[in-house]
């Protein structure tokens, strides 16, 4: 294996990564006996993304196949760099030293005589080769990604002025489940106030109460009988009756009968009529406690 690295020009791949520039000259290999300005070496080291990157550089610089690394030679070169870094008293990332140890170990294992009958034995370099290759493929992938057409560098998404947009806001949606959970929460809380007697009338009565109230809302008299729809059947009639009774109890409606057996009329309790379309008083009396 040759000691002299090929001139860098023969390797376009590495051309972008000379060691350093010293007084305008690209330093492509470390002269062994030459003094190297510390900053140049620092620049050189910063060009590497760690020991794997440095090793790959050493291998590629000599056009070697990763699969067939001359471990002794590469180790020697690697150690030279490490030694130089030490001499320069550069802060050496621990990873570089770990790699140095690994290389030394592989080298010693390679030196051991291998019996012919254990040919199956793993190549001591296998793990290193695996890591080098794995690293290299992502190093390459990073370069490929960098080449992808990129927003604001290569392609430019368009965002045009558009007509004044009306802000349309949709009202929020509610699920029935949420409503029921809210009801439960409110009721549960109400029960803590003991003076509240939460009644349990069938809801249909309550609903009917609202309907009756609304029908008489205009202040007119309505004939009692017209509140009942025969087609609703017996249950419907009962519900209507209960609703009317409940409304009377709450003083929300009044029953009027001019003479016995005359038609019964109902109408809203007087105040209801007066304020039918006037919300202002309630807002004041609403009791913002």
């Amino acid at each position: 294996m040759t000691d002299t690295p090929l001139p860098i020009e023969a390797e376009p791949q590495q051309a972008e990564m000379p060691f350093a520039y010293v007084q305008g000259e690209a330093v492509t290999s470390l002269p062994k006996d030459l003094y190297i300005p510390p900053d140049a070496l620092e620049v050189f080291l910063e060009a590497f993304e760690g020991p794997l990157d440095l090793l790959l550089y050493l291998i590629r610089r000599q056009n070697l196949d990763v699969l067939d690394i001359p471990i002794a030679e590469i180790t020697r070169q690697y150690m030279d760099y490490i030694g130089l870094m030490h001499e320069m008293r550069l802060e050496l990332a621990a990873e570089y030293l770990v790699m140095a140890a690994m290389l030394a170990e592989i080298k010693s294992r390679m030196l051991l005589p291998r019996a012919a009958d254990i040919e199956e034995e793993d190549d001591p370099r296998a793990e290193l080769v695996r890591r080098l290759q794995e690293y290299e493929r992502y190093k390459q992938a990073a370069e490929d990604i960098d080449e992808l057409p990129r927003v604001d560098r290569d392609v430019f998404p368009v965002a045009l002025e558009a007509p004044e947009r009306q802000v349309l806001s949709r009202p929020p949606e509610i699920s029935l489940q949420e409503l029921l959970l809210a009801a439960k929460a409110a009721m549960t809380r109400a029960e803590m106030f003991s003076h509240h007697h939460v009644q349990m009338e069938p809801l249909s009565v309550r609903e009917r109460m609202s309907i009756v109230l609304e029908r008489i809302g205009a202040g007119d008299f309505i004939e009692f009988g017209r509140l009942f729809a025969p087609e609703e059947g017996r249950m419907g009639v009962v519900v209507s009756l209960l609703a009317v009774l409940e409304l009377i109890k709450s003083s929300l409606i009044e029953l009027v009968q001019s003479e016995p057996f005359a038609p019964i009329y109902i109408r809203a309790a007087r105040a209801t009529v007066l304020d039918a379309d006037d919300e202002a008083p309630q807002a004041a009396a609403g009791g913002e406690a």
Partner: protein, 232 residues
């Protein structure tokens, strides 16, 4: 430079700029050794304007230069693009609505008594604007407070035939969790079903395909494919 590519360069540059460009600015994007005439740029602009005349965009000259913009008549579509995500209703509003539903006809004061806190005017207003709640009368007491009830729209929205379809207060109190998939119209069975559903599996049936229901759900489902597609 062919006229055609001049036109396309100007179009591309105007589209990419994000702001109006003067004629000088437009000239500035060309290599100094390949500078078009000002008239050529003006001609290209006129050509683009002609091309756009049938389309949803236009090239106009505004105070600070030329700009390509979306035409006014595209407003309806563009506006729908920015439709705001609906916000959620507050807990106070939901409880107020629930109380109106269960305890109607009811005054605001009575709601406040049950909830133990005051009910803001805006909540009552929102519920009425939504047409879920309306004033059905006024109570004959000092101040004549409005009495509220639910509307037909309220029933329609929640897909109820009548308030009877809601679980009774008693059932409500007993259940630990209420499943979204209420079998409406069958209150009795529903109550039972609700009882059976444990709080823990409340989520499991949320998305089994009732289109109405999913449209109605408050929580806009988070786009779980957001990951950008992990390698399969």
């Amino acid at each position: 430079m062919s006229e055609k590519s001049l036109k396309h360069i100007i179009e591309a540059v105007l589209l990419a700029a994000g702001q109006p460009l003067t004629l000088d600015k437009l000239l500035g994007v060309f290599d100094e050794f390949d500078l078009p005439e000002r008239d050529a740029i003006r001609a290209a602009i006129a050509e683009l304007q002609e091309e756009y005349s049938e389309r949803g965009i236009e090239l106009v000259e505004v105070g600070s230069g030329y700009r390509i913009q979306v035409r006014q008549n595209m407003e309806p579509w563009v506006s729908r693009l920015t439709e705001e995500r609906p916000v959620r209703y507050s807990r106070a509003l939901l409880e107020t609505l629930a109380l109106v539903a269960y305890r109607q006809p009811i005054t605001r004061g009575e709601i406040e008594d049950i909830r133990g806190v005051s009910v803001s005017t805006s909540i009552m207003k929102t519920l009425q604007e939504r047409e879920w709640v309306r004033i059905v009368g006024h109570r004959d007491v000092p101040g004549h407070p409005a009495i509220y009830g639910t509307t037909r729209q309220f029933l329609d929205y929640f897909n109820l035939q009548g308030l009877d379809d809601l679980p009774t207060l008693m059932e409500l109190r007993d259940i630990d969790s209420i499943n979204a998939e209420l079998d409406l119209g069958m209150p009795g069975e529903m109550g039972k079903k609700l009882l059976d559903e444990d709080a823990s599996d409340e989520d499991s049936e949320e998305d089994d395909g009732d289109p109405d229901d999913s449209a109605r759900a408050v929580q806009v489902p988070v786009d779980s494919s957001e990951t950008g597609g992990i390698l399969h």
